[in-house]
C-alpha cells in the first residue's frame, strides 16, 4: 500500500524547513493508467518564485493542486508552510488553504457574483467589517488596475481582465504562498506582459513565495530577468552587472519527471539536449 509506512510514522519535515515554504519529496501520482508525476522532489524557499515549465499535460497543474491538497498523491510527502499536506484531513486543509492564494487557469471566478463579491469572498467568509472589506477590495483591484470593474460580472470581462480579478481575489488576504496556474495562457502578448508585471510586483514588493505553472518560456525568462522598480512603478530589466537578484527559479518537467531545477544562468548553461531545444 503506497504511503503505508509514512502513515504509521509521520515523517518530520526535512531540517531547515522554516526557510522552505513548499517541499515535495518523491511525489508520484497517476490518473488511471496515466503516470503524471513520478518521484518528483523540489523545494520552494521563502520569497522565491519557482516556475514550473513543461509541455501540456506534463503535470504542472497537478503539482499546484497537490500543494493545495485538492488531490492526494499516490506516494511521497508534501509539506506546505510546515504542514504535512498529504496526511491532513479535508476539514483541516481548509484552514491551511486560507494562507495560500491560488489563481486558476480559467480564472474560476464565481460567475453568479460581481467582481466586488468575488474579490471580497474570503473576507466575507472571515466576517471582516463591511467598510474594511470595501477598502481592501478597492486596494486589491487597484493593484491589478481594475477598480472600475467593481460591479461588473465575470462574463462581462475579457479573458485578461478575468485573470487579473482572479489575482486580486488570491492576494486580498496577503497570503504567504501564491500558486499561479498558467496565468498567461491564451492571452495576447501585451496582456501577458501586464500579468507578468503583476507577478513580478507581487514577488519584489510583497516578497510572496510562489509557484507558477506555465508552458510559455518567454514569460518565465521575463520574470527571471526583470525586477519591479517601486519608484518608477513599473517592471524594468535587471541591468548587466547589477546586484539586484530576481528571485525566480525554473523547474522543468518531462515525462512525469523533473529534468531541471535551477536558476536562469544554470538553465542557459545546461547541456541537456531537450532543454537546449526547449529554450532555443
Amino acid at each position: 500500500m503506497p504511503g503505508a509506512a509514512s502513515q504509521l510514522e509521520p515523517a518530520p519535515p526535512p531540517s531547515g524547513s522554516s526557510q522552505q515554504t513548499i517541499i515535495f519529496k518523491d511525489v508520484s501520482i497517476a490518473f488511471e493508467e496515466n503516470q503524471v508525476l513520478s518521484q518528483v522532489s523540489f523545494e520552494l524557499t521563502s520569497g522565491e518564485t519557482k516556475m514550473l515549465l513543461g509541455v501540456l499535460g506534463s503535470g504542472k497543474s497537478t503539482i499546484l493542486k497537490l500543494a493545495l491538497g485538492l488531490i492526494k498523491p499516490d506516494s511521497g510527502d508534501i509539506w506546505v508552510l510546515g504542514e504535512h499536506v498529504n496526511q491532513m484531513k479535508e476539514e483541516d486543509l481548509f484552514h491551511l488553504r486560507r494562507r495560500i492564494g491560488m489563481v486558476f487557469q480559467e480564472s474560476a471566478l464565481f460567475d453568479s457574483m460581481t467582481v466586488r463579491e468575488n474579490v471580497a469572498y474570503r473576507l466575507v467568509e472571515e466576517h471582516v467589517p463591511a467598510e474594511e472589506i470595501e477598502t481592501r477590495v478597492r486596494e486589491a483591484l487597484r493593484f491589478v488596475e481594475l477598480e472600475h470593474t467593481l460591479d461588473m460580472f465575470p462574463a462581462e470581462l475579457s479573458g485578461g481582465m478575468r485573470r487579473r480579478v482572479a489575482i486580486a481575489r488570491a492576494i486580498i488576504t496577503k497570503p504567504e504562498v501564491l500558486l499561479y496556474d498558467s496565468p498567461t495562457a491564451g492571452l495576447d502578448p501585451v496582456t501577458s506582459t501586464t500579468i507578468i508585471e503583476l507577478l513580478v510586483k507581487q514577488r519584489d514588493v510583497y516578497h510572496t513565495s510562489a509557484l507558477m505553472a506555465t508552458h510559455r518560456l518567454a514569460d518565465t525568462l521575463t520574470m527571471a530577468t526583470h525586477y519591479f522598480d517601486e519608484k518608477a512603478n513599473q517592471m524594468l530589466p535587471i541591468p548587466d552587472g547589477s546586484s539586484i537578484e530576481a528571485r525566480s527559479t525554473f523547474l522543468v518537467l518531462r515525462d512525469s519527471k523533473v529534468i531541471f531545477d535551477g536558476d536562469v544562468r544554470q538553465l542557459a548553461a545546461s547541456t541537456d539536449e531537450y532543454l537546449r531545444e526547449y529554450i532555443s
Binding site: 493545495l68 481548509f94 495560500i100 491560488m102 464565481f110 467568509e125 481575489r169
Partner: protein, 260 residues
Amino acid sequence: MELVSPMDIAKESVQAVQDYSLLAWRSVSNLFTRPRYVSDTLMQADLIGVGSLPIVVLTGFFTGAVLALQSSNTLQRFGSLSLTGQLVSLSMVRELGPVLTGLMVAGRNSSGMASELGSMKVTEQIDAMRALGTDPTKKLVTPRMVASVVMLFFLTIISDLVGLAGGWLISYFLLGLNSNQYWTTAWQSLVFSDVFMGLTKPLLFGFLIASVGCYYGLAAKGGTQGVGRATTQAVVAASVLILVVDFFYTKLLIAVFVVH
C-alpha cells in the same frame, strides 16, 4: 465503441453509492458545525419553496379534481357517492400530495441543483471554493438540503389543501354533493397515522431531492455535455428514488401503525 468489463461497472456503482452516502452524511453532519450559511439557506428556500408554489398548486388542484371525478363513477355504482370527500382526502394526504409534490419539485429543483453545481464543477469554481478555504458541502449542499426538507413539508400541506379544494369543486358543481358533507367526511376520515404518514414523507423526499441533485452536480465531468448528463440523471434518479422510498416507507408505517 469501447467495451467496459462488468467488474468495472460494478466497481463504479459501488463507488457511486459510497460517494453519495458520504455526501448525504456530510450534508447532515454539517448542521452541527460552524460556519452555517443562513442567508444561502434562506435564498434556497425562496428559490425552492416560493418558486415551486405555482406548479405545486396546479398539480395539487387538478389531482384532487380528477380523483373526485374518477372515483365518483365507481362510488356511484355502490351508491356511496357521499364518500367522495373521504376518498379524496385519504388519497391526497397519505399518498398523492407528498409524492406528486416531491416529483414536481424533483423535476424542477434536482435538475436546477445538478446543473448549477455541475457548471461550477466543470469550470473549476468548486475547486476555487475549496482553494479559498470554504467547504462546498457546507456552503452549497447543506443549505439546499435544509431548504428542500423544510419547504417540501409546507408545499405538501398546500398541495393537500388545494387538492381537497379541487375535489370539492367537482363534488359540488358536477356531482351535486352537499358541501358540508364533503368537508365533514374529508376531515373526519383522517386519523393520526394518515397525517403522520403524509407529513413525514416530504421530509424524506426533500432530503432525496437535494442530496441527489447536489451529488450529480458535484460528480459532473466532461464540460457542458457532462452538465447536461448530470441534470438528466439527477431528475431520473430523484424521481425513481422518491417512488421506491415511498413504497418502503409506506410499508413500514403501515406495519408500525397496525401493530399499535
